[in-house]
Every structure is written in structure tokens, then in C-alpha cells.
């Protein structure tokens, strides 16, 4: 099933590049959705189906929609941006990220992981048990964090009452 991985990899890299290179923010967001879907595909190919589905639900269903809403609220409706990511001032950004990429790839080359993949069959039940037993405290903390984030987001984004004079 090698080709699945390669197709997904090309898909992810392509859509990721599209997502950061385009000038139109809505196009970026649409490419980002494709990117998220590709990541979900990677999770499926790694037999983490639950995570893949969660990825689609959270990223495509929620975060992408949030980003689209944010674009709609802060930009002109067409979503065009004035500054291109290829302008002169961005050159150092490109150099820095390319350098990091080189470093990462170099270090990866040094340590080849030649490990055979024994498919470990896990079910939803295992995930549920892990979440409720071994990881109960992080789970609670995360739920608290999400609640706090929800309340915080609402409070921050709430329109301030106009002062009457």
C-alpha cells in the first residue's frame, strides 16, 4: 500500500503550500481544509481511525469554519490581501524555514528507523479505557481548558457596550 502514502504525501505538501502561498485568504482556507483532510488520511493509513475522524470533525468541521468566519469578519468579502508572501521583506522567513528544513532532514537521515510495523489492533474500547483510567487527570484538565477557552473566547469577542455620553 505504499502508493497510498505517496499520494497522501503529495496531496498534503501540495495543499499545504497552496494554503500559505495564495494571496486570497479564502483560497488559503480552502486549501487548508484539503490539507487537514490529507492529515486525516495519514492517520487512517496509520490505523488510527478514531484520530482521523476526530481530525476531520475538529479541524474541518470546527477550526476551518472558525477561520473562515474570522476572515469574513476582518477582511473585505473577497478576501484579497495586499501583501504577497513573495515580497522582499519575506525573504528571511523563507531562508529561515528552508534552513530548519535542511537541519531536520539531515538529522533524520542520520538515524534510520528500520522497524517493521506490526499492526497493533486497538479498538475504540481501548481508547476509551485509556482516556478514563490512565489519562483521566489530563482528560479532566483538557476539558477544563476547553471550557475556559470557550468562555474566554466569548468574553473576548463580545462587543463592548457603547459608552453613552
Amino acid at each position: 500500500m505504499d502508493y497510498v502514502f505517496y499520494i497522501l504525501a503529495i496531496w498534503i505538501v501540495g495543499s499545504g503550500l497552496l494554503a500559505i502561498l495564495q494571496r486570497n485568504l479564502v483560497h488559503c482556507a480552502v486549501a487548508l481544509i484539503a490539507f487537514f483532510a490529507g492529515i486525516a488520511g495519514i492517520f487512517f493509513s496509520l490505523h488510527a481511525e478514531f484520530l482521523g475522524a476526530i481530525q476531520v470533525v475538529v479541524y474541518v468541521g470546527a477550526i476551518a469554519v472558525l477561520i473562515l468566519f474570522a476572515i469574513m469578519l476582518t477582511r473585505h468579502v473577497t478576501g484579497e490581501e495586499e501583501v504577497s508572501p513573495f515580497s522582499r521583506h519575506a525573504i528571511w522567513g523563507w531562508i529561515a524555514s528552508a534552513a530548519v528544513l535542511c537541519v531536520l532532514l539531515y538529522s533524520l537521515d542520520k538515524q534510520m528507523f528500520a522497524i517493521s510495523a506490526e499492526p497493533s489492533q486497538i479498538t475504540m474500547l481501548d481508547i476509551g479505557n485509556a482516556m478514563m483510567q490512565r489519562y483521566a487527570v489530563p482528560f479532566e484538565v483538557i476539558s477544563l481548558l476547553l471550557t475556559a477557552a470557550l468562555v474566554g473566547a466569548v468574553v473576548i469577542a463580545l462587543e463592548e457596550p457603547r459608552e453613552r455620553k
Binding site: 522567513g93 524555514s97 534552513a99 530548519v100 537541519v103 538529522s107 483510567q133 483521566a136 487527570v137
Partner: protein, 667 residues
């Protein structure tokens, strides 16, 4: 496992559930809300009775003494914190007391709070309190006990300040909360230490719990002493022992049913219960129990003296409660585990009776609480009068009433108090204080009764008083019956209560001289008091005979030894002054002297400098300055306030570090 142990949690859960449902109800649904609360409480009482009955039937074999139902509560990683519920004679006794008194107080509140617009809120809080108190009683873990302890404190806070629009009530609720918090801090440290020392949070767990003999034997003497003293801090705060007793009389700002339930019968006894629960740890080091005994004895006497000179009907009872709690602590401290708890048991009923009786009086007198403005209620409120007299006799320790038996047992145990590490003189303190306290108790109770019920009415409130309705008098009658009946459970020499609580241990043999002596003291006190407060003294506008005779002493007592003022002058003032000093220090020394001073010096120096500069160095330095400026241009580029820029530099730095590591690794 028997059904009742398996489902012990229901006893605490039902009031919680009722509180939750009642909290969601609209204000107008008075009947539904109180009905649900009372129904849940009745179910809890039934279950408590079933639990007690099971324990009685199971007999006294050692395995059945501590029936536990433990469960995993919070797993993190591979460690699991376990909690559990416990059924043993101690918890069974407390379950009965708490649920019985709560039920009666709830019914009483139906009448007392009838006209209050926040009726449902009141019942919600009451039910919340009852649930947490019951959870406290059945907790099989110091952690769970602490949680319930805090919930109990919270509901007490809410109920004291139930009429929070009154400034005094708002102040009292804060005072209660903060004062008990001081004790709770000690308790919490003790909890952590205990957990650390024993490695488990459970009390009993098939021989592996913290209070099981195997774990107790590991506990060192000094560790045991510190743990017990720290835990005792919590008990001191909650049970209003000296020096943290100040909140309890103020807590009388709450509605009277609350005073009866929380600040007389149940919650304040939680401290005594806590000491009883941790008794095996206290026993390890005798010093711990001695501290308990002395604190208790002192509180018993100290509070009784204050009660003699109070005017507020509820405050007299409040100080009496403090005093009686001191008795219980003293009983536990002198080694009378059973006698202390027996006094808790009987006291709960007759003190609830007295408070509810006073509630009935206050209700009848249009919320007048000053006993100088009452009088002559004997004929107007005959049912209340009879019940109140029974409660008063029980509290004073008149023979054949409940208080007599339990107080006598404490005194008996105090008589046998001969610890090896104390001089003989010191070991006599509890019994002497106890006897004086008994005298004072009888004295001030008679004084109160005389003021309230005898003579002629001294105010229009008392003139128009009439008997309260049956929701208020029925609980009084029930409690009066209990105030008589419970005493016989501890008949000297053949104490059923003793057998139930601690079948293995033998009680001290009855001392007839002591008994006769204490009876004599009580009767003399009653007689003296009745003689002093008669005739002229009960006339309107008359001065209290004691005040007339011992004016300065009376003033001191009336002002509670100026303890509140003392705290105000010392701790509060100290904190306030200290913070003021800090502010001054900040403003004048740090800001004024150092900052301004150094600024002036620098300014002066710079003036000098300017002269030198402009004259001599200016020209030569200009070039150097220019190069510095170029350098700082570069620095400015690094530090330009753009997060993207920082990230850029960070990633480049990572790359450079990596390359460096690579080079160093090569060579």
C-alpha cells in the same frame, strides 16, 4: 457485602439530590421544594436507622466493627486515589443524630420560615448542609471527610448570612468562614502529613487502612503527635474551642433553625466527631490527648462564665454550646472516648430542643431576642415552656435527664485522669473546671428561664405572645422526649451506649460520691439562681442583681473578656499596621529615598559630567559614539517587537546551534 453498606452513599446522596432539585425550583414553589427536601431527609433517616439496626444485629465481632465500601476515585498514571464509605458504631450513632435532628429542624422551619420570601433557597441550603454533614459522617477517608468538611463550612457560611442584607449577618458569615479557615489550614496540613505517613487515604481497608493496627504501628510517636495536633486545629476551629470560639456566638445571626441544627447539634459537633474518628492516632502519644483535655476543660469553664452575663437569648445558648463542646473535648481528652461521644449524642437533642424552643419564643415575641424584654411567657406558651424546661433540666444536669448521665460520665472519666507525665495538680484541673462549669451551667440556665418565662411581661412583644403552630411545637415535643429518653441509654454501670460503641473496653466503676456531689452542685446552683432572679430583679427596667453586686466583673463577662476587641487590637491591627508600614516603606524609603535620592545624585553628577564632557571629551568621543550607534542599530534590528522576527531569529539560532553541535561532535 450487606445491602446497606453497599448503598450507604444513598444516605448522603438523597439530601444532595433534593438540594439540587430544590435549587432549580422557582421561588413560589414553597410546598414542592420543602416537601422534596423533607421527604429525602425522611428517607435518609430510615436508611440511617437501617444501618444502625444492621450494626446491632451483626453483633460485636471485630470484623463487623468497620464495614467499608471503597472505590477508585481518581486515577492518574498508575496511582489511584481511593475513597470509600464506612459504617461503624461511631458513624451509625452520628447518622442517627444528624438525620433525626435535621428532619425535626426541617419540619420546624416550615413554621418558622413561613413568611420568608426566600423560603426555597433556605431549604436548598439546609438540604445541602444535611447532605454534606451526612457525607462527612460516613466518609472512610480523611480526604473525603475534608471535602465534606469544607462543604459543611460553605453551607454554614451561606446559612449564617441567609439574611445577608443585614450588615451584622454579612459580617458574621465572613467571620465564621475566616475563623474556621484558620483551623482548616492546620487540618489540611495534618491531612497531607497523615497521607504521606501512612501511604493511603483510607481509614479502614481490610487491614490496610491508615487507622488499622498494622499501619498505626508504623506511625512514629512524634509524627502521631503532630498529626493529631494539626487535625485538632481543624476541630478547634469547627467546634468553637478557645481561642477560635469567637465565630460561634456571632453565627447566631442566622435564622434560629440554622442555629439549632448547625451551630448546636450537628456541625459544631463535627470537630468532636473528627477527634473521635482519629482517636487511634491521638492515643499513640499521650501528650496529644492531654492538649485536647486542657483545651476542652478551659473552654468549658471559660464559655460558661461568659454565658452568665449575656442578654441575648440565643447568645446565652451559643456560649453554652461552646462550653458543652468543651466538655466533650475534655471527655475525649481524659480518655473517655465513649463518654465524650455520649455527651455529643445527648447534647445534640437537648441543645436542638433549647434552640428550637428559643426560636419558638423569638417567633412569638416578634423577633425580639433580648431576655430583658421578655418575661411571663409561662402561661402564654405553656407547651413551649414545658419543653424548654425539660431541655433546661437536661442541660443543667438534673438527675434522670439526659445531660445528667452524660456529664456525669465525663466527670467520672476526668476523676480517673492520671497521666504519668503530668504532676498531680495538673491532672486535677479537668475535674475541677468541669465541676465549676456544671455549677455555672445550672446557674445561667435558671437565670435565663426566670427572665424569659417568669415574672410579668416587660415589653409589648412579650405581652402579645401566643403559642406557635404545630409544625413548630411538634418537633419540640419529639426532642423533649429524646432529651429524657437518651439518658437512660447510658445508665451508670449498665451503659447500653458504651456497649454499642466499644464492646471490648470496660467502663470505670460508678463513683457514688462524685455523683452525689455533682447533683448537689447542680441543685445548689439552681436554687441560688432561682433565689437571685426573683421578685424585684424581674421587674421592667431592673438592673441585673449580679451587675449590681459585681459591676466590673459583670462588664468584663458581658463583653466576653474583650476577646473580640483583643483580636481586633492585636491580630487585625497588627496586619493593618504592618501593611501600612509596608506602604510607607515603599513610598518613602524605597521610592523616596532610594529612587529620588539616587536620581538627584545622578542628576547632580550628570551636571558635573556635562561640564567635563562638553569641555574635554566631547570631540574625542564622537567617533566612538558613532560606532556604538551603528552597533545598536544592529541590536535594534534584533529587538524590534515583531514576533515573527523573533521566530525567524529563533529558527536561525537553532540551525546555527545544530551546526555548532555537529562541528564539536566531529572534532
Amino acid at each position: 457485602m450487606p445491602w446497606i453498606v453497599e448503598n450507604l452513599w444513598l444516605i448522603a446522596f438523597l439530601p444532595f439530590l433534593a438540594a439540587g432539585i430544590s435549587a432549580l425550583m422557582p421561588r413560589a414553589q414553597k410546598k414542592a421544594s420543602s416537601g422534596i427536601v423533607i421527604f429525602a431527609m425522611a428517607l435518609s433517616l430510615l436508611l440511617s436507622l437501617k444501618a444502625g439496626g444492621y450494626l446491632l444485629k451483626a453483633g460485636s465481632s471485630h470484623e463487623t466493627l468497620h464495614l467499608v465500601r471503597n472505590f477508585d476515585w481518581l486515577p492518574y498514571g498508575d496511582t489511584v486515589i481511593r475513597l470509600g464509605f464506612l459504617l461503624d458504631p461511631l458513624s451509625a450513632m452520628m447518622l442517627f443524630v444528624v438525620s433525626f435532628v435535621s428532619l425535626l429542624v426541617f419540619i420546624f422551619s416550615l413554621g418558622y420560615m413561613d413568611h420568608d420570601e426566600n423560603f426555597t433557597r433556605f431549604f436548598t441550603f439546609l438540604s445541602l448542609f444535611a447532605g454534606s454533614m451526612l457525607a462527612l459522617v460516613i466518609a472512610n477517608s480523611l480526604l473525603l471527610l475534608f471535602m465534606a468538611w469544607e462543604l459543611v463550612g460553605l453551607s454554614s457560611y451561606l446559612l449564617i448570612g441567609f439574611w445577608y442584607q443585614k450588615p451584622s449577618a454579612a459580617a458574621a458569615m465572613k467571620k465564621a468562614f475566616i475563623t474556621t479557615r484558620i483551623g482548616d489550614l492546620g487540618f489540611f496540613i495534618g491531612l497531607l502529613w497523615f497521607h504521606y505517613a501512612s501511604g493511603t487515604s483510607l481509614f479502614y481497608d481490610q487491614g490496610q487502612g491508615a487507622l488499622d493496627p498494622t499501619k498505626l504501628s508504623i506511625l512514629g510517636g512524634s509524627a502521631a503527635l503532630w498529626i493529631s495536633l494539626l487535625v485538632f486545629c481543624g476541630a478547634v476551629g469547627k467546634s468553637g474551642q478557645f481561642p477560635l470560639h469567637v465565630w460561634l456566638p456571632d453565627a447566631m445571626e442566622g435564622p434560629t433553625p440554622v442555629s439549632a441544627l448547625i451551630h448546636a447539634a450537628t456541625m459544631v459537633a463535627a470537630g468532636v466527631f473528627l477527634v473521635g474518628r482519629m482517636y487511634p492516632v491521638f492515643e499513640i502519644n499521650p501528650t496529644a490527648l492531654e492538649v485536647v483535655a486542657f483545651v476542652g476543660a478551659f473552654t468549658a469553664l471559660f464559655a460558661a462564665t461568659i454565658a452568665v452575663a449575656q442578654w441575648d437569648i440565643k447568645r446565652i445558648l451559643a456560649y453554652s454550646t461552646v462550653s458543652q463542646l468543651g466538655y466533650m473535648m475534655m471527655g475525649l481528652g481524659v480518655g473517655g472516648y465513649v463518654s465524650g461521644l455520649f455527651h455529643l449524642f445527648t447534647h445534640a437533642f437537648f441543645k436542638a430542643l433549647l434552640f428550637l424552643g428559643s426560636g419558638s419564643i423569638i417567633h412569638a415575641c416578634h423577633h425580639e431576642q433580648d431576655i430583658r424584654k421578655m418575661g411571663g411567657l409561662k402561661d402564654r406558651m405553656s407547651r413551649t415552656f414545658v419543653c424548654y424546661m425539660i431541655g433546661m433540666f437536661a442541660l443543667s444536669g438534673v438527675p434522670l435527664f439526659a445531660g445528667f448521665f452524660s456529664k456525669d460520665e465525663i466527670l467520672l472519666d476526668a476523676l480517673h485522669f492520671h497521666p504519668a507525665n503530668l504532676p498531680h495538680f495538673a491532672s486535677r484541673i479537668p475535674i475541677v473546671f468541669g465541676l465549676i462549669g456544671a455549677f455555672l451551667t445550672a446557674f445561667y440556665m435558671m437565670r435565663q428561664v426566670k427572665y424569659v418565662f417568669f415574672g410579668s411581661p416587660r415589653d409589648h412583644g412579650a405581652q402579645h405572645a401566643h403559642e406557635s403552630g404545630s409544625p413548630m411545637t411538634l418537633p419540640l415535643i419529639f426532642l423533649a422526649l429524646m432529651a429524657v429518653a437518651t439518658g437512660f441509654l447510658g445508665w451508670p454501670g449498665h451503659s447500653w451506649f458504651h456497649h454499642f460503641m466499644e464492646p471490648a473496653a470496660e467502663a470505670h466503676p460508678t463513683n457514688l460520691y462524685l455523683m452525689l456531689g455533682s447533683i448537689a452542685i447542680v441543685l445548689i446552683a439552681l436554687g441560688v439562681s432561682a433565689f437571685v432572679y426573683s421578685g424585684e430583679a424581674l421587674r421592667a427596667g431592673a438592673v441585673d442583681p449580679l451587675e449590681a453586686r459585681f459591676a466590673s466583673l459583670f462588664r468584663v463577662l458581658n463583653n466576653k473578656y474583650y476577646i473580640d476587641e483583643f483580636y481586633e487590637k492585636t491580630f487585625v491591627l497588627f496586619t493593618r499596621t504592618f501593611s501600612r508600614i509596608i506602604v510607607r516603606f515603599d513610598r518613602y524609603i524605597l521610592n523616596g529615598f532610594f529612587v529620588w535620592g539616587s536620581a538627584l545624585i545622578v542628576y547632580g553628577l550628570s551636571l558635573v559630567n556635562q561640564l567635563i564632557d562638553e569641555a574635554a571629551i566631547n570631540r574625542g568621543f564622537d567617533k566612538g559614539c558613532r560606532s556604538v550607534r551603528t552597533g545598536s542599530q544592529w541590536n535594534r534590528w534584533i529587538q524590534n517587537g515583531l514576533s515573527q522576527h523573533y521566530l525567524k531569529i529563533t529558527s536561525l539560532a537553532i540551525v546555527i546551534l545544530f551546526l555548532l553541535a555537529l562541528f564539536i561532535g566531529r572534532t
